[in-house]
């Protein structure tokens, strides 16, 4: 299993130079990818812009969105942004897409949240066609475009993933939850009769440091997940705050068949990526 790390720009208030330096350190560290999340009505940095910046200061790691809320953008725009980042990074983008769960994001975007599942399927097709046919340029760095991951935990989401994507991106949780989702993803994939198997990506939050740092991390998660009501506290409780917790989760995900696990920061300071690198080393 490979391990990636999230970019700190997902945390509100992250400074630009911290994001860039973080990316540099990750590129020379034990990480295989740099990840972002996506929200609109929130203080995080925009996913593609952040990855474009990261592309400029890295040469090795893959750049992954976990995941961009696809229905908020027109498919042609998504295709163009993704192809651009793919070119800027020399073919290192992995495009994770999902429908997202926050009503506010749809509201501020002025996009109707109803029927987003079927619309998302159409977008997936449109993005691939745009890349292949060059209807919106540029062409991605690679033939056929970057790999597409699809997230979501409903039956229709798994079917959509199996029908049109190259892999599955999980929304986070204990290894057992990942294993469960992975089994569903594989079931959908084999039912769709797609060749090979889907790439399986996982994610988890971490905060390493003293009590104050850990509390800041927890506050970020409670805030970020406030829309889930009582679940915000559960997510905060699942935060990885010790090296042992990270190692345990790593093993659990590996056993569950995860191909790549991306650890997302909750505190935007450089010591976080360094501490994580130490744990992984």
């Amino acid at each position: 299993m490979r391990v990636g790390v999230g970019l700190p720009g997902i945390v509100p208030g992250a400074e630009g130079d911290v994001v860039l330096e973080w990316a540099r350190r990750a590129d020379s560290g034990p990480f295989s990818s740099l990840g972002t999340i996506d929200r609109l009505a929130y203080g995080n940095q925009e996913a593609f812009a952040m990855l474009a910046a990261a592309a400029a200061v890295t040469s090795r790691v893959r750049l992954v969105t976990m995941a961009v809320i696809a229905p908020l953008r027109p498919a042609a725009l998504l295709a163009k942004e993704a192809a651009t980042v793919d070119r800027l990074s020399g073919g290192r983008l992995v495009l994770g897409l999902a429908t997202g769960a926050r009503q506010e994001d749809y509201m501020v975007a002025g996009v109707d949240g109803r029927g987003r599942g079927p619309r998302f399927s159409e977008q997936l097709v449109a993005i691939r066609s745009a890349w292949e046919e060059g209807t919106v340029g540029p062409r991605p760095a690679r033939e056929g475009g970057p790999p597409i991951l699809v997230g979501g935990s409903s039956g229709p989401a798994f079917a959509r993933m199996a029908r049109l994507a190259d892999g599955y991106v999980h929304g986070g949780g204990p290894p057992r939850a990942f294993a469960n989702a992975a089994a569903r993803a594989l079931a959908a994939w084999s039912e769709a009769e797609r060749p090979g198997r889907p790439d399986l990506w996982g994610q988890a939050y971490f905060t390493l440091g003293d009590g104050g740092t850990v509390e800041r991390g927890a506050m970020y998660l409670r805030d970020y997940y406030a829309f889930t009501g009582p679940f915000a506290e559960k997510i905060a409780a699942g935060n990885l705050t010790t090296s042992q917790a990270i190692v345990d989760l790593y093993r659990g995900y590996e056993d569950a068949g995860c191909d790549e696990l991306v650890l997302l920061p909750t505190v935007a300071s450089l010591d976080q990526v360094d501490r994580l690198a130490q744990v992984l080393a």
């Binding site: 039956g155 229709p156 089994a183 569903r184 959908a188 797609r194 905060a236 409780a237």
Partner: protein, 749 residues
């Protein structure tokens, strides 16, 4: 902290005791509407693994509880006049009254205030929550507190369709007993177990209709008892049934998104129930208590940290409870539909019952009771052997394949039998060495339908996998019937000749390498409106970039918004398609395939005819279910005619569309019956994909329930896949009579 506990059942009392034990400075009151010694219900069962936790949580009550236990390790399944005993189960049980007595004493000893005979109203409960630091709602399945906070918790309360009544009886049964008794009104079952030397719990359950037909909806307590005593006289061995406010209920399945609202924490039956047939309600309630007491301890008496602590409690308990509820749901569904298995022989009936919830499989059961599983395996093997011999009288068997035999290869009976997956199965003249199936997916590598080296390689790999049957990718019956430009076909004589050479070569290699003979099935079909698509690795149902061919379907409806419009087939075109299927069947026979599979699934042409989502025809081939079935059945008849009579015909059938307006499983069962009547030997059960946006559920073994229904209601052998990975899974499904062949999804080598 000031803690009020509503409800003095096992959940509330145990929580109060544990919390007090951890910190005697708490002020804890338990409020219970009943007097201390009035308890309803009889005995409760525990499994051994639970007990360890009780010991750690409070050794004193653990000791008292376990001293009162009766223990036994057998389950008796009584059915059709036979009792099948299965051992190695390690149960213990205690009278509910005894358990509550122990917990009440323990509470009193630790300084918990117990207020009996005080029933709180919704208003009282709301008020109480305002007065204390923590209110624990442990007031059982009809919880008053839940009525106050249910919306915040996200309640889902599902009354189930069977009726049950909780009796006792005045003698000690020797095993956990499941007894099935047929009355003139329908089937009744009893779940009974001892809980002390002279008393047993005796729960009677039946379907709502049966309950009404038997007049039990109007019966008095005495009449209900008299009815059940007469029906279960043999099980009761002359003893009486005892009532204790024993009324007939519908079981309520209770679930919640969240288990706490502000400073109110819910536990036990108030927040989750699991059907009594897995006997875990008290265990879950008491485990909740251990976790919640731990959470209270963790917040160190600081109400400000309560929210976080209650979150930990939920995080710890919810997944465990959900797993049990999942198992309970399977168990409940089993008992709701148990009539379906009325034709099973007792050993298989017992195996099916024991593996109903998905928690116990063939391997696991073999560890608990090796003798029983050996008996199941031997029974299965013997039946397979007998069936293999029976069909062997056939003649005119083509000698093209080593698995087509005339019967002399039938193995002798064995006392040490392989697990069911390795039992042979005879289908017509074909004897498959085992029941594992491999169905590799299309390589999209054919050129103009012609198979090549990629197909040979794939076939060779599948033939050496150890499976008893290998199914090819779908071979198109006409060029328009291809799914992608690289789909293989069986629409030119040259295709058939190439398959013949290819099969002979791969079989030759296999036997030269000493491999056992393996059956090979040609799967034939017509892609219909899913045709003319790009290679599968580029995503499904995307039209080709260039060189698209015209699509045909039952109606002119596109498959997906991004795919092309098909043309509606004219009635006069249908015979041509039927003939194309028949021709492919004939050629498949000539090429030396052992088995033929007709594709009537996955949204391809024949499935499109079947489904109201894809078939809006107004002629005789649409409309009613019979109309929609008409063309697919004509095809099957023509194929049966063209395919050698002694060789088996499989139909891959969409059993349900997984869509509100689509084919229901009821229709799937009807279709399966119609197929069997027309000479289909095996139904390969599939679901969904008729349209792209459906509501699939990719739970473990998600296709098995459909296979179970088709096999046991339509009475036709079935093949099933859907993420069956291990041979233990396959053997469990086969031994339980839920399918006859399993398509395995092997993990990559």
């Amino acid at each position: 902290m000031r803690i009020a506990v509503l409800g003095g059942g096992p959940a509330g009392l145990y929580l109060a005791a544990l919390a007090m034990r951890a910190d005697p400075s708490h002020d804890i009151t338990v409020i219970e509407r009943n007097p201390p010694d009035a308890t309803f219900g009889w005995g409760v069962v525990f499994s051994e693994e639970t007990l360890g936790e009780f010991r750690e949580a409070d050794p004193k009550s653990y000791e008292e509880i376990t001293e009162s236990f009766v223990r036994w390790d057998a389950i008796d399944v009584r059915y059709r006049g036979e009792t099948v005993r299965v051992g190695g189960q390690a149960f213990s049980a205690i009278a509910r009254k005894e358990l509550l007595g122990i917990l009440q004493r323990r509470c009193a000893e630790l300084g918990v205030a117990l207020e009996f005979e005080r029933e709180l109203t919704e208003e009282d409960v709301r008020g109480l929550a305002g007065e204390v630091d923590l209110l624990v709602a442990a007031d059982g399945v009809n919880s008053t507190a839940r009525r106050v906070w249910g919306d915040e918790l996200g309640s889902s309360i599902d009354p189930r369709s069977t009726r049950y009544v909780w009796f006792g009886t005045d003698f000690g049964l020797r095993a956990f007993t499941f007894s099935f008794r047929e009355s003139e009104h329908g089937l009744f079952q009893a779940h009974a177990y001892p809980f002390d030397a002279t008393t047993s719990t005796f729960i009677v359950e039946t379907r709502e209709e049966v309950w009404q037909r038997a007049g039990l909806d109007r019966a008095s307590d005495e009449e209900s008892i008299a009815f059940c005593e007469a029906l279960f006289a043999e099980d009761l061995e002359g003893h009486r049934l005892l009532s204790n406010r024993s009324l007939w209920f519908n079981f309520l399945t209770v679930k919640h998104d969240t288990w706490h609202a502000g400073n109110v924490a819910f536990m036990g039956d108030a927040v989750h129930t699991a059907h009594f047939t897995i006997g875990s309600g008290t265990k879950l309630a008491m485990e909740d208590a251990i976790s919640l007491a731990g959470a209270i301890e963790r917040c160190g008496g600081d109400p400000a940290r309560l929210e976080q602590a209650l979150t930990y409690y939920e995080l710890e308990r919810q997944p465990a409870v959900e797993r049990l509820q999942e198992a309970a749901r399977e168990s409940q569904t089993y008992f709701e539909n148990v009539d379906r298995y009325a034709g099973f022989e007792p050993v298989q009936f017992a195996f099916n019952l024991l593996t109903r919830s998905g928690r116990i499989g063939h391997g696991n059961l073999a560890l608990r009771d090796p003798g029983f599983v050996a008996r199941v395996d031997a029974w299965f093997a013997e039946r397979a052997r007998a069936a293999s011999g029976a069909g062997a009288a056939g003649q005119g068997v083509s000698a093209t394949s080593p698995v087509q035999t005339s019967g002399e290869r039938t193995p002798p009976p064995r006392r040490i039998a392989p697990p069911p997956m390795f039992a042979p199965i005879r289908l017509g003249s074909v004897l498959l060495p085992n029941r594992a199936v491999q169905a590799p997916v299309s390589t999209d590598a054919a050129v103009d339908g012609m198979p090549g080296e990629a197909h040979a390689g794939q076939l060779a790999e599948a033939l050496t996998s150890g499976a008893g049957l290998v199914i090819t990718e779908m071979l198109a019956v006409s060029p328009e019937g291809r799914t992608t430009a690289g789909s293989a076909g069986l629409y030119l004589l040259e295709h058939a000749r190439t398959w013949e050479r290819l099969l002979a070569r791969v079989r030759g290699e296999l036997s030269a390498a000493g491999g056992p003979p393996v059956g090979v099935a040609a799967q034939i079909g017509h892609a219909g409106r899913r045709g003319s698509s790009r290679p599968r690795r580029e995503g499904l149902d995307r039209p080709l970039a260039v060189g698209n061919w015209p699509l045909v379907s039952a109606s002119a409806l596109t498959y997906a918004p991004w795919s092309r419009f098909p043309r509606e087939l004219l009635p006069e075109e249908l015979p041509g398609i039927r003939e194309a299927f028949a021709r492919a069947a004939r050629w498949a026979g000539e090429a030396g395939f052992d088995v033929l599979e007709v594709n009537m699934a996955q949204g391809y042409l024949l499935a499109a005819f079947l489904s109201p989502l894809a078939n809006e025809r107004r002629d005789a081939y649409g409309g009613s279910p019979e109309g929609r079935l008409r063309f697919p059945l004509e095809v099957v008849e023509a194929v049966r005619e063209a395919w050698p009579a002694d060789r088996p015909l499989v139909v891959r059938l969409v059993a349900e569309d997984r869509h509100r307006r689509g084919l229901s499983l009821d229709e799937g069962v009807t279709a399966a019956r119609a197929l069997a009547d027309r000479g289909c030997d095996v139904v390969h059960v599939h679901g969904g994909w008729t349209v792209p946006e459906t509501r699939p559920e990719y739970r473990r073994f998600h296709l098995v329930p459909a296979s179970d229904r088709i096999r046991n209601e339509a009475g036709v052998p079935t093949m099933v896949g859907g993420r069956i990975v291990t041979r233990d899974d396959a053997s469990t499904i086969l031994a339980a009579g839920r399918a006859d062949l399993c398509v395995l999804d092997l993990p990559p080598p």
